[in-house]
């Protein structure tokens, strides 16, 4: 993921939030030595002892499957990474359905285990939509990502994996990402009339749709 | 004395609920009044010591009206029914016919009072004493003197039942 190394900055801004600001103050001094010793003990951790220069665990992935994929889709494959031995492909948003169908039918990733999104508000295209695929035949997992800006629709993969139905609704509910072609895109966990998308980073944890709460629950605040 | 009180009690209920049955807009209420009317009639049967008729009336109509109920509940949309016209257009004709019938009954009562030995009032006394074992009597007359009509009626009902089954099958 090309963005990842650049990414630690937005959280810095994010730490400005009230509940978070106290945490580094308390835990930073003991935290550092502890962190230093931690990677030393487990055999797996190849990370160097000083924690400051961030360990780059994201390595470009280039195996046979990726080559095959690249020859088929060419420029649509924006990135192929490996993070903690888990393969991540970032693909072009527009061609998502086509790629999804290819992955299901040709590469036998027949189960969409999980579909979610991550919000990176500082980025040009702020949302990652993340699809975790699983192949029963190969016993492999693959993560598929597309980037989407605030106003951009993401093509719905319900036609490929019916299970995406509720999961896309949940992402819509929580992030406000529109999935074009979804049969029934409406809120799933929150009330239909709720304003705002709670899992966006600019939605504070104490925030809520007070108007809704007042109207429907008859109380001043749900907190 | 008691007989009279009971008779007027049952008869009153029967007539009143029959009238209510016809006039209620709510179909379920109508059905309830139908039950009441039939039960009151059963009461009169019992009073006449016609126990068997009494229980047959109850048992048959329990099942019968039950089915009626189910149809009413499942098939009739009450909200729509409440908006509809209550009586059909022939109500004037019906009124005239009803009046004629009432007149006929009245004349019968009137003449029966004039010509002794002919008419209704004698019946109660007979029923109480002559038919002590009512169900046996009914059975005897049904299977003895009226065996052929009974069997014909049974066959008729059987045919009706089979017809109903066949029709239901065809639809499904």
């Amino acid at each position: 993921m090309a963005d990842e190394p650049k990414e630690p900055k937005p959280p810095q801004v994010h730490t400005g939030d009230k509940p978070v600001s106290s945490t580094p103050a308390v835990s930073a001094p003991p935290g550092k030595p502890a962190d230093a010793s931690a990677p030393a003990a487990p055999p797996k951790a190849a990370a160097p002892a000083p924690p400051k220069p961030p360990v780059v665990l994201q390595t470009p992935l280039d195996n046979e499957f990726v080559t095959r994929f690249r020859t088929k889709f060419g420029a649509a494959l924006l990135e192929a990474m490996e993070d903690r031995k888990q393969a991540i492909l970032t693909v072009d948003r527009v061609r998502l359905v086509e790629i999804a169908r290819h992955l299901r039918e040709e590469e036998k990733f027949d189960m969409l285990a999980d579909l979610t999104a991550v919000d990176w508000p500082k980025r040009e295209k702020r949302f990652d939509v993340v699809l975790n695929l699983y192949s029963f035949a190969k016993n492999e997992r693959l993560r598929l990502k597309v980037w989407a800006a605030d106003a951009e629709d993401v093509p719905s993969v319900v036609s490929v994996w019916p299970t995406a139905n509720w999961q896309e609704r949940e992402v819509f509910d929580m992030f406000g990402i529109i999935f074009s072609g979804h049969p029934n895109l409406k809120r799933i966990l929150l009330p239909d009339e709720w304003q705002g998308y709670p899992l966006r980073k600019d939605y504070d944890i104490l925030q809520q749709d007070t108007a809704w709460v007042r109207e429907n629950l008859g109380i001043e605040s749900g907190q | 004395m008691l007989d009279k009180v009971l008779f007027y009690f049952f008869a009153g209920i029967a007539v009143a609920s029959a009238a209510l049955m016809v006039t209620r807009r709510n179909v379920v209420h109508s059905a309830i009044f139908l039950i009441t009317a039939l039960l009151a009639t059963a009461g009169i049967f019992l009073q006449l010591r016609a126990e068997f008729l009494f229980i047959v009336q109850i048992i048959l109509y329990v099942g019968g009206i039950m089915v009626l109920f189910v149809f009413v509940i499942m098939l009739v949309n009450l909200d729509v029914a409440l908006q509809q016209m209550q009586f059909a257009r022939q109500k004037w004709v019906a009124l005239i016919v009803a009046l004629a019938l009432a007149g006929q009954v009245g004349v019968m009562f009137w003449t029966s009072g004039k010509m002794p030995g002919q008419g209704l009032p004698v019946l109660t006394a007979v029923a109480a004493n002559r038919l002590p074992l009512n169900s046996e009597a009914v059975a005897k007359s049904l299977f003895d003197s009226y065996l052929l009509p009974f069997e014909i009626a049974s066959v008729l009902l059987l045919v009706a039942m089979i017809g109903a089954v066949v029709m239901a099958k065809k639809r499904a």
């Binding site: - | 068997f52 229980i55 039950m66 189910v70 169900s135 239901a168």
Partner: protein, 457 residues
Amino acid sequence: MNATLQATLEFLKLYWAPLLCGVAVVAILPLIVGYIVLVERKIMADMQARLGPMRVGPHGLLQPIADAVKLLIKEDIIPEHADKLVFWLAPVLSVGAGLLSLAGLAIGPAFQIAQDINIGILFVVGISALGIFGIVLGGWASNSHYSLMGALRSSAQLVSYETAAGMALVSALLFTGTLNVKSIVEAQSKEGIWFVLLAPVAFFTYLVASIAETNRAPFDLPEAESELVAGYMTEFSGFRWSLYFLAEYTNMIVVASVATTLFLGGWLRPFAGVSWLNFLDFVPPLVLIAIGAYCVLRVTKQPTRVQQLFMLAVAGLCFVVALVLAAPVVLPVIKPSLREAVAPFYAGIHGGFWFIFKVSLYIYFFMWLRFTIPRYRFDQLMRLGWHFLIPLSIINVLLVGVALIAGAYFQLHGWGLLLVTTPAAILALVAAFLILAIEKQHDARQEQTAPSDFYAG
């Protein structure tokens, strides 16, 4: 004025006994039902490895009273768009029918409210079936889909199973030739054999059909709590609800009594005609003495003084009843000249005991089934009724009739009748298996076709 008073007095003079009995039934039955519920909960608890109600009174003996008080003071809720009048009427109708049908039963040769009604068993069956109106009307009046579905299920169930139950009754009635309750028991006494042995298939049919008619598990679909919340009772609360509850248990008592009267020899002691088994007369008092003794033993285990006293009172009650039961059988042993004098008491008291005992067994069987097996689905229930029980019961009536004619031809009586009825029963069983086999074949063929709607059936 004077004439009315006169008439009233005359009326009372004529009918004081049934009126008193009626009042007694209305007054006592709720209590009895309360205790049946307690017993049911205790049995259920025992089968489920727990204790059941233990808090109110020793071993929860006062639980029914606490429940009754709770139900009476509960808020009475009438749903907003309910049909108020019908909503009022329905539970009353239900319980009224149940109570009224008790009038036709004979608990002992002496205990019968409506003396000697000629239509006897038909009266009980017919009137108790009226209770279904309460259920259907209540379900309809609550203006709730769950209630309505419960009501519809209930009506369909009753119409289907009433037929099978009626046919089963007919098979037994063929032996007696009368509908009169007392005569039925006397016929069994005369033959020296209970009709359950002569018409086992009919008994089985009636057993199943009676469970279905009283809406008990596994046929408790009208009130299936996991599907329809509480079926037709969903919107009822407090006193109204308890009326429905009362009606349900009253109906259980009624069907159990009908089965006892027709098939289990009514108030007759087991082997009533066999004189060397007369020692069985001592069983009732001994059973009660045993229960009383157990209560006395448990007194020390009770935590509080009040509970100890209550336990002692229960024991005392048992002993008193035991004494009453023992008197007619012990006195003749001491003083043989008294035999004649106590005979009516013996018949009445012991008859009552055996009748209640058999009814309890029947109800116990209901409970046992309820805790053991899952609930039928509606279409399965309808199929069991229409495709199995009704054909079986009709075939059985035919076979029993043939057997009776054969019995008359060979001049068989009593146990001898078994010679002709047993083959009839076996034939009926064969027919039953045949029906099942046809059913199975039919199923296999219909697997692919569209599922039919069983309300149409």
